[in-house]
């Protein structure tokens, strides 16, 4: 199941058959499959981390933590499905006296069918073979075909072997999970009639190309892509005055974390004009050394991105961006990526939004100095959709207008923190307006399962053909809405 030479039709045919069996399995069974996968990954953590470190250079500490996060995620989805609300069971009893008479109608969410998952480069565990997309699709009863990321092929194969073995041992249907590799297999998957949805984490150009394929199929399918995010941070005048050192230290830690290769890296930081913050930030970033990047290609792209930012000019041809610290000319492939801090003004961004508001993958951030709240609001209106937006303000400041604006451009709004670090829980939202994501859903947290479900209503159905969730006596003991009223069990 893990070689590039596999016949895709055999894989999708098996996935279609397995999806039927998984849809018919109980939540308890599927939860057991998820636990089996989590346990197997935990058992093999040392070997997996060693392979991952050799392929991604992310370091064993970070990678070990990422495995723990990945297995916790699998177990969270097991909890989510056994709790039962995810089925959104709704019962409306018949009302023959109504005009017109109302039939008995019962609705729940069913699995959508085989799902294609595209692994990410920067999270070889949590957003890859056994990551959140795979876990949430398996949880609800879909089969999954993962497209391996070329940045960690051996890890992908080994993880897939472990997942496949664990699922088989736990009694899951054959073909429930498969791995394919190669760009060609990926695009073929998105276009394959057997595939009913796609999960993707990657770049804007790559993601948009696959999105375009998914929506231009004869039967378009949902494409759940996480593409790119600038993650704006706003620091108010009062906050920068009260806490310059703390903010500088926090930001320096956040934008350099993991060599700046987080999808939630703060890429734009709005600060009041004329403060000492840029110098303090440079000071705080001084001891953040160069760090290896994920792949040679990514490392080579970093200085290109830096040069592109540094070379921007205003309408008169003068430089629009100042290098506060670090060096644009660096050999990141040989020496690792070293932090670079840029600085410009909101006035210049308003002149050149297309160019200045582009993501640069790596340990760099752009400080944007604003003259006051009105200019801040004006420039924020140009920031593309993001996964996160952060505000640093003092406790007595009224930031409600600012927060409302930030909530319009991002899926998660943080207060007095830093966006790197995404908790895996019930309330998480990891998604935002385009290009952050291509849907109204999240790829992290309990509600990620909703991406792979479709509603079906049964009208005047005999009990015997109904899913247990919809039977009158509620044998599963799950929360349901009955005649408009939410009933816990």
């Amino acid at each position: 199941m893990t070689t590039a030479t596999l016949d895709l039709t055999a894989v999708t045919t098996a996935a279609t058959r397995a999806a039927k069996a998984a849809a018919a399995a109980s939540d308890v069974d599927r939860a057991a499959w998820l636990h089996a996968v989590a346990d197997a990954l935990d058992t093999n953590v040392t070997e997996l981390v060693a392979i991952a470190d050799s392929e991604t250079r992310l370091g064993t500490a970070r990678l070990t933590g990422e495995v723990a996060r990945t297995t916790a995620q699998l177990r969270l989805f097991a909890t989510v499905i056994t709790e039962g609300s995810y089925l959104e069971a709704v019962i409306d009893h018949a009302d023959p006296a109504a005009t017109p008479p109302k039939p008995d109608l019962r609705r729940l969410l069913k699995p959508i069918g085989p799902v294609a998952v595209f692994s990410a480069s920067n999270f070889p565990f949590a957003f890859s073979v056994a990551g959140g997309d795979t876990a949430s699709a398996l949880a609800v009863g879909c089969s999954v075909i993962v497209k391996a990321h070329s940045g960690h092929p051996r890890l992908s194969e080994r993880t897939a072997e472990i997942v496949t073995g664990a699922l088989a041992a736990a009694g899951a249907p054959e073909g429930l999970f498969a791995l394919v590799s190669g760009r060609e297999a990926g695009t073929a998957l998105v276009q394959d009639p057997a595939i009913k949805a796609v999960g993707f984490t990657g770049s804007i150009p790559g993601g948009r190309a696959l999105f375009d394929l998914a929506v231009s199929r004869p039967e378009p399918i949902p494409f759940y892509g996480e593409l790119g995010s600038l993650n704006p941070v706003v620091i108010t005048a009062q906050a920068v005055q009260a806490r310059t050192a703390e903010l500088a230290a926090g930001l320096a830690g956040s934008f350099t974390l993991g060599a700046g290769q987080f999808c939630t890296k703060p890429g734009l930081v709005f600060i009041p004009a004329g403060t000492g913050f840029p110098a303090r930030l440079a000071e705080a970033a001084k001891d953040k050394g160069a760090a290896p990047m994920l792949t040679e290609r990514i490392a080579e792209a970093y200085p290109d991105g830096l040069r592109s930012v540094a070379s921007m000019t205003d309408a008169t041809g003068a430089a629009a961006v100042e290098v506060v610290s670090g060096s644009v000319e660096q050999d990141a492939a040989t020496n690792g990526a070293a932090p670079v801090i840029f600085r410009t003004t909101a006035t210049l961004v308003l002149e050149r939004p297309q160019e200045l508001l582009e993501e640069c993958f790596g340990p760099t951030t752009l400080l944007i100095e604003y003259s006051g709240p009105d200019q801040l609001s004006e420039v924020l209106a140009l920031v593309p959709g993001s996964l996160t937006a952060t505000v640093h303000a003092q406790p007595d400041e009224d930031v409600s207008g600012l927060v409302e604006q930030l909530a319009g451009l991002a899926g998660r709004v943080l207060f007095d923190g830093w966006p790197t670090g995404v908790a895996v829980n019930w309330a998480q939202q990891h998604g935002g307006p385009y290009p952050a994501t291509t849907s109204l859903f999240t790829s992290v947290g309990a509600t990620a399962v909703r991406r792979f479900q479709r509603p079906v209503a049964y009208q005047n159905a005999p009990e015997t053909v109904l899913h247990p969730a919809l039977r009158e006596a509620n044998p599963l003991g799950i929360p349901r809405r009955v005649d408009g009223v939410l009933v816990l069990r």
Copy 2:
């Protein structure tokens, strides 16, 4: 607000401003706006029905019922939003002891922004200016710009006047609702950066063209289209034997209802081979007279569609379809559309699925004779996604496999009933796999609101900036999930 010559920018600018105000309004306020619109439509029912009848020829009885359904729908959405579950409020308290420490995270659904709604021809009230798309978008705090259907321009304008007046009197923000007309305005709306989602009910070609525009924008937006549906009906051998007369009468009533212009009209009926059912159906349909169709264009298209079905041939060039009753050659524009019943075999459909499985708008249905359960399953696998699928079986038959297959191709599965007639309640699902709809949502029933909402999570936010739904004390008294546990209030 209701003329074709309006400057679209003025309309979208007002809609953007109004959406902000509506998003900030309370659920109680928005519920009052919906009630005001419903009351105003009820007050003007006589005038509205008269205009509608003159433009659509649907008859005053049906149209009066449709107004009642439309106002009940507006009031249902008022109930839905005041109940509060639609916000999907989730609170995860901080856990500083976790590894890594977990922040306080609170999530809810916010309105997506200005929505474009395309009216349908066949439901001038329930799926038009003040129909389900408009009601569900207004309910959650979106503004709405309706594209009028060319089939009922005067009704659209008069309804829009009443809606606009009622909203203004109820204190809703100016620009919350607007009407535009003309194909050009419609396509411009879908491409306008101010528009954040589209609701559409109409044909496959028209809907797909607008879908393609929506997903090819620089910032793609969700396109909630209801496009076309064959609504397969399966009658088992036992059922046809036990209840031929009853089934024939029911089907005759359903496929001719409203001149066959329902999106849930049963267009394909699978019956066992070699029964007397076709003759009984012809008998039952005999007294269903010709009925005027919605527009001249639709009436002219009906005989074209009939001829297309009748002219189909098998591999040898022999006729593949038999006319059981009615006449293919008819002048529906002058005399109204008269019922036509066709008949073919599953064997022929398996040879020619592309041609035989096409929707024909009007009072016609295609009987497909199957040799047994295996052939039935084989031919059902070729039926495109539908809004509904119906099974007529006897109480002691095991139809679970058949029901599972039908649930895979339709959003609503009916037992021993007919698909025309869509209850507006909490459990309804009016949507299905493409081309029935272009999303995983419903356009009828309580959950239709979810189409126009996007999730936002707030991390470590001060109470003062939080929506009341997320404040610790739950001042709205709504159901929420707190630390993984569903709490009613």
